[in-house]
């Protein structure tokens, strides 16, 4: 068996350590490089979006088609979600309010909770799932099957036709869907209140809307536009930058939902902090 001199052993050990250290450093550098590349890609994407938004010849027809796709086709899902939100909130809160003798405050409490927080966030999360994944999958599939390239070679700007229209449609339609879900939520709450009690429609709604102030509605609607922007941007970005294989379509759709949902929560947190400081 070959015998190593102690100095050689130490040298060998030192070399291995140094190789490991440089491998670790290289891995960290690669991660940092990837992060910076991704960040640059996102910034470039946003810059292109802004430039194409304000360039000539807007795609109005495609924008309205996307509004229809995003808005009208989401109505059943949003209606069901809104109704269940109001119903569950009422059924869960009613016993506690009865215990404190404050059951008459139920319509106002539900309306304020829905309008300020639950309606916007839950509807935005539902939209992130439906709209974000739809955009990610559709654009991803167009990328994989070279439809985006086909658009480009026929002198049509795919960023303007596909991305600008979808993002603006999401910015406009998501707040409308949220207000629509709020309305169904209050309707669901009235149904919930009548399961174990008896409240007239007019009394319930007058109490509900009597508790809602303009400053409950304004921050909620304002943040809804940002939710729409986040969902539109993330869905389009993930789809537009999908890889080349069919697997990448699934990855684009999935990552669009995950990232859009996470960003909705983060935007909500920031919006709540800002609202708290201003009001």
């Amino acid at each position: 068996m070959k015998q190593f001199h102690p100095v050689t052993k130490v040298k060998g050990f030192a070399t291995k350590q140094s190789v490991r250290l440089s491998e670790k450093t290289m891995a960290k550098t690669a991660i940092a490089n990837n992060f910076l590349t991704d960040l640059a890609d996102v910034l470039l994407f946003i810059t292109q979006f802004v430039r194409e938004t304000f360039s000539r010849n807007s795609e109005v027809k495609e924008f309205f088609r996307q509004c229809f796709q995003i808005g009208y086709k989401s109505l059943p899902l949003v209606s069901i979600t809104g109704t269940i939100m109001g119903l569950v909130l009422t059924i869960q809160s009613r016993p506690v309010l009865i215990k404190f003798g404050a059951v008459t405050m139920l319509p106002g409490m539900v309306a304020v909770s829905l309008i300020r927080e639950m309606g916007p966030v839950i509807t935005a999360l539902i939209c992130a799932g439906k709209i974000g994944s739809g955009m990610g999958a559709e654009l991803g599939s167009m990328k994989v099957t070279e439809q985006i390239d086909a658009m480009e070679v026929s002198s049509t700007n795919p960023m303007k036709f596909l991305v600008v229209t979808r993002v603006w449609a999401a910015i406009i339609m998501v707040p409308i869907l949220i207000l629509y879900a709020d309305a169904f939520g209050i309707l669901g709450s009235w149904a919930g209140a009548n399961i174990k009690g008896d409240v007239s429609f007019v009394l319930f709604f007058s109490q509900a809307f009597g508790s809602v102030r303009f400053m409950d509605l304004l921050p909620a609607v304002t943040k809804s536009f940002f939710f729409g922007a986040v969902i539109g941007f993330v869905g389009c970005y993930k789809g537009y930058n999908a890889g080349r294989g069919t697997e990448s379509v699934g990855i684009a759709a999935n990552s669009a939902v995950v990232l859009a949902s996470l960003l909705v929560i983060i935007v909500d947190m920031i919006a709540v902090q800002i609202t708290d400081m201003l009001i």
Binding site: N57, S141, M142, T145, E146, Q147, D149, A150, E152, V153, S154, S155, T156, F161
Partner: protein
């Protein structure tokens, strides 16, 4: 051969001129300094194995990819230096038929064909668009499929529709990316005939990217053999394959024995 004779007659004005073109993807060197010319009215078939850089070459010609080094002059303009409206204007003169046909899934055959026209010539009325769509579909023999969706079409019909969509803009240059891949021999032969028909009817100059020797022989006035990122031979079919070069003979034998 009629095609080859025609090539000699037409040789003169160059519509695509490529000089010392290099393209790499990270460590993978795809094109290693190629020189290439396409003359007005001729069909050039670029032959090569899968992954030899054939598709990269035509994507550079149409400006979908940027070259690392070299000059690509298309219809007298250096495509690498063009941007915005100038690039769009040049692309309107180039037709690109994709390997996957790249038909818009959400649009019918009519909408697929009308799309490039309505997007680029917004002043056109419905009657003019209808007439142009029917003319392009007539050129590829698919007038009866005008209301169908791409998912209802066969592979060959999809290829034809893809070609019709490019013809609607009356291009001066046609680029075909693997026009016969995934098709049976009969449909492949029909597509080959269509490529020749398009050349005559629209007076186009074409680059046909293929690894199918039958397609190259049937459509190409000249053949360019792309091996390891360089053109090994360019000439008529007989000039290219009348050789003892192992790389060329291997390709020839494999195709025809298959």
């Amino acid at each position: 051969m009629e095609n080859q004779e025609q090539h000699i007659i037409n040789k003169g004005e160059s519509v695509i001129a490529i000089k010392r073109l290099y393209k790499s993807f990270e460590d993978l060197h795809v094109l290693k300094g190629i020189d290439f010319n396409v003359f007005k009215g001729e069909n050039v078939a670029v032959l090569g194995k899968s992954g030899s850089g054939k598709s990269v070459l035509i994507k550079i010609i149409v400006g979908l990819l940027k070259p690392d080094k070299g000059e690509v002059v298309v219809l007298g303009k250096d495509i690498d230096k063009l941007e915005g409206k100038e690039l769009d204007a040049l692309r309107l003169r180039i037709g690109f038929s994709f390997q996957s046909s790249a038909l818009y899934d959400s649009m019918s055959v009519y909408e697929n064909l009308a799309f490039p026209l309505t997007m680029n010539f917004k002043h056109l009325g419905k009657k003019e668009v209808d007439a142009a769509v029917m003319e392009a579909l007539d050129a590829v023999g698919l007038t009866d499929k005008v209301r169908q969706m791409p998912s209802d079409l066969s592979g060959g019909q999809r290829k034809r529709t893809g070609i019709a969509r490019t013809l609607i803009l009356n291009p001066e240059i046609m680029l075909y990316d693997e026009p016969t891949s995934g098709l049976d021999p009969v449909t492949s032969s029909e597509i080959n005939e269509l490529i020749n028909e398009v050349q005559k009817r629209y007076n186009t100059s074409s680059v046909i990217i293929t690894h199918d020797l039958t397609c190259a022989k049937a459509t190409g006035n000249r053949i360019a053999m792309l091996i390891d990122g360089k053109f090994l031979k360019i000439g008529t079919f007989n000039e290219v394959f009348d050789t003892k070069d192992e790389q060329v003979t291997k390709f020839y034998n494999y195709n025809f024995i298959q």
